[in-house]
Every structure is written in C-alpha cells, then in structure tokens.
Symmetry: C2
Subunit: 303 residues, 2 copies
C-alpha cells in the first residue's frame, strides 16, 4: 500500500563536531520517503527550485518514489544551514532560506488522491489541512509539527490535529502544545485535540507512544558514533508509517513493531551525513538491528 507524503525537499549545510558538508540533499520529505521506501511505495509532494540536480531526482526514483507531485518552480530550492555541538540532541539553526518553499501550495496529483496512508511532514498546519481536503478517504493520517507552528499558528494546528490519527512530535513540543510540564498529562491533553495515537520523539532517549490506555516505550539504538542527527525524526516517521502501510495492520502490537522499525531506520540515518547511510542500506541490516533492539530491551516476567 503506497503512502502520500507532503513535506520539504531541501539543501542542508551542516557542521557537527565530526565533519562539515554544504548543500547536501535534505528536507523532511526526502528523509521520510527514502526510509519508507524500504517498506512500501511512496508518492511524494514537495517543491524544488530550478537549481535542483538531476542526480537527486534519479536517486529518489531509484527508490520507487513517485515524483509526479514534485513541483519545480523558478528560483532556488529551500536551504537550511545548521550546527551541532557535542550535545547532538540540539540543532542550532544558522540560516534558513525558504526560497521556492515560501509559496509552496501542495497540489495532489489525481492518482495520489485515494491514498490510504498520508504523512503530513512539518509544514504550515493550514497547508496540512489543505492537503487533507484533496484526498478522498485515507485510512490513516499521520503528521509532524514543530515549535514554530505551536508559537505562531496554534489554533490552525489544533484544527488540523482534529483530522489526524497519529501525531509524531518532539518531547519539548508536546509539553509546549499542551502547556503542561508532565509528559504523561501533556500526552492526554494533546490526544484530546484529535490524534488517537501520539508518538513522542526523545532523541537519544528513544520514543514513547501513547494510545488509548496504553504506553509503549522504545529505546534509541545505542550508537558509538552519532555523526549527524539531521533527518532522524523524519527517517523515524518514514520507517514507522512505511511499516504500517506495508502491513496494513493498526493493532497495538503492529504499531509497536512499526515504532521499532522507525527507530532502526533513524539509527542508520545519523551514522552519516544526508541520506548517505540509507543509500547503502539493505534489508538484512534493518532486520539485524531490529533484533538487537529486541535483545537490548528484553527482560523476564515475574511469577
């Protein structure tokens, strides 16, 4: 079952304590769709400028990602420049040039419109809602957001959340959105806005998933070398929604497996810059790491 993803395709310039790159392929839709493509087909909607090189198009196509919805506009592609210190949990934005992304109006191609699985990456919540008016009757809508929209468009965001099944969001943003410091209480407040399932990303501390009367805790995969965390959250979402779409099963047990697959995918992304690690990844490595997370968390019941 294919997924519709709407988000950004961008050029990132990144400095970490371990290296530095300029204008590499980035953006939420790039990470999401590449990760999801290990599990299912992906239909991508985003915008690029006329400076976007053929090689990236070719790569995304090679992953069976449908690019009919990738608009090319006159001007430059969205550019982000950031820096990380040894605390790799925190990105310091140095420059943001929205460029063609500033006037992005998602247009969903006809053959994407009956998508059963939809992922609304972190874009303006009004555009997220606009996307939902263009799809007929999705089985599952997941979305991401960020502090910028919680600050500036909270009402619009809450309206969008009313039509969302799964919200994937950072820990600090859950607290901010709920205006509640306790995470468990904050999760209930945010779930009351609409999403029956709330997935809270906690960086190197893993993920908490809140459902109706249940919580699932998954650790991050422990890595000796976290090279660049950029894209980890979108890669996580791609693995998570990708696995759900490929299995078409929204049971609690399958949602938990999907969380672990998302965790696995994110753990690869952070090992190299951009999509470099995903580009060389094969499915055997994914299942091997899944099993390692199982061993990492396993303990015996008591009588």
């Amino acid at each position: 079952m294919s997924i519709l993803v709407v988000g950004s395709v961008a050029f990132d310039s990144i400095a970490t304590p371990f290296g530095k790159v300029d204008d590499v392929l980035g953006g939420s839709a790039s990470y999401f769709s590449t990760a999801a493509s290990f599990f299912t087909d992906v239909n991508l909607v985003a915008v690029i400028g006329d400076d976007f090189p053929r090689e990236h198009i070719d790569y995304l196509k090679s992953r069976n990602i449908d690019l009919s919805g990738l608009q090319q506009s006159r001007g430059e592609t969205f550019r982000w420049k950031g820096r990380y210190d040894y605390n790799l949990n925190e990105a310091h934005t140095l420059e943001t040039h929205l460029n063609v992304f500033e006037s992005f109006q998602p247009e969903i191609p006809q053959h994407y419109r009956n998508a059963e699985y939809v992922f609304l990456a972190n874009i303006d919540p009004e555009l997220q809602l606009e996307v939902l008016t263009q799809v007929s009757n999705p089985k599952l809508v997941a979305c991401d957001t960020m502090n910028f929209w919680i600050d500036g468009k909270k009402d619009e965001l809450i309206r969008t959340l009313g039509r969302v099944d799964i919200l994937v969001i950072n820990e600090a943003e859950v607290r901010q959105l709920a205006n509640e410091p306790n995470l468990i209480k904050a999760a209930e407040i945010v779930r009351a806005f609409g999403p029956k399932i709330l997935v809270v990303k906690r960086g190197e501390y893993g993920v908490l998933m809140f459902g109706e009367g249940s919580i699932f805790s998954a650790p991050a995969y422990p890595l000796e070398e976290v090279f660049d965390p950029t894209g980890a959250g979108d890669t996580f979402a791609g693995g998570f929604v990708g696995y759900l779409a490929s299995t078409r099963n929204l049971s609690e047990q399958n949602l938990r497996k999907a969380i672990v697959f998302g965790t696995v995918m994110a753990s690869f992304t952070v090992e190299k810059f951009s999509l470099d690690r995903l580009k060389e990844l094969d499915y055997a490595e994914i299942s091997d790491r899944y099993r390692k997370i199982k061993l990492l968390t396993d303990f015996a019941d008591i009588e």
Copy 2:
C-alpha cells in the same frame, strides 16, 4: 543474604513546584536501605548527630535494618537543602551542612564484616576504599559516586573503582569520568577502570546497564505526578542490589530483573516527599508495577 550499606543519613529541606518540607529524613543510606529492605536484610553504617529523633531509628528498625553500625556523634546531623523547578531532572542545592558527616569514619561492626553484598553509597572514594579493607571477601561490591568526587578526587575514585564490581552513576557523570561525550564509548572507558557492570541512571529516561558485550535499556515508569525526585537514585540502587542479594544470582537475566525492580522502587519514592511513599508500600504494589513496566516495553520479534 544481607547487604552492607555505607552512606549518609540526613535531614533534607526540599522545595518543589508541588510542595515544601523541612528537615525530613533523607540521605543515601536511608533511601537505599529502606528500598533494599523489601527484598532482604540490610546492615547499615552511617553517622547521625545527637539531634536525630527516635522515630526515625524506630522506623528503620521496623524495616529489619540492622543499625549496629549507625554511629551517633556529638553535634548536628548532616543537612541538605535543595530546590527543584518544573525540570525535575535537576536539583539546585541551596545549602549543605555536613556537620557530623564531615568527620565520618566508617567502622564496620564485626558481625557485618563477612557481608557478601556491599553497597558503597556516594561518599568520599577514600572512605569507600577504607570500607573495603574492613570486609573479608564480598561476593559483590557496588558503588555510587558524583561529580564532586570526579572533580576533586578522580585518582582516588579510580583506585576505588578497581575493586568495584558494579558502578551505579548518573549519565552526565559517566561522560565526565570518562572525558568522552559519547555514552557508549564512555561506558567502555569506565568499565576498564574496574566495574564489570556499569549502571547509568538517566532520570525520567530510565537506565542503561552495560556489561561484557551487552547493553540493557530499561525505561522509567511513566508517572503522572512526580512529586519530589530526591532519593530516586539511592532507592533505585536499593531495589537493584536488594533484589540481587535476595536471589544470589548474578546472571545477565537476573541483573536485568534487578534493574527493573530498582526502577519500580524509585518510581514509588518520587511520588511523595522523603520515605513517605515507601513507608506505605507493600509487595503487591511492587510486583504490579513490575508487570506494568513489562507491558510498557513489550514488542514482538520479527521472523
């Protein structure tokens, strides 16, 4: 099998966003021994002043804690005053009065000296080593430490660690002790100092245990009300070492169960001030919460 614990007994004055208390029973040995007492007998070594009330003595005795090693000196009991903001992971120390604790010289009573399980709570690493010269041939030595000793007595600490089997320590302190920002690498560096097993406390993010070629990740128990985190780490250690001593089994699987019991005990301590929650706790609540952590982390294998 009984445990020997050497640490502090103190009066704490604490303010959190949810309340305030003055001169309540605290100290590493109080929390540790009370938590461990749910699993096994405890022999306590600490010092109190002549201001220490009978009721606390009576309470500790009621938990089958042997107080032959509790020295009473002229002067005041150790006092700590601290404050927490909404970020309950971080304690702000307002006042520390070591009082009689300043000249504490642990003297291990004769009938404690063949203790098989020893816990050296967070005290001067030279005193920790001094304790080890007084015990004959323990089966397991676990210890805690803190940034103060890593800053001021690193060489002495490393000497002590050479005789320790399990180090229980905070995440930031592992990084500091190893002088290495990556936690996985830092853990290997610290294990090379002596402790075959390193238990890293991460507050609301749970615990990581590093052994030979294995890592175990346990989440914290998700609480709607974290009232006061004081004593959580020592309570964790008490549950952890207490369960190990009661089962006399140091297999990886049993160490993992012990970590979860430690987590369970800590989750109760933070629900109220001081030992108030542990005082009303029964074993059925402990096993119930153990099962809930099992459900919280459970997910299916892949084929």
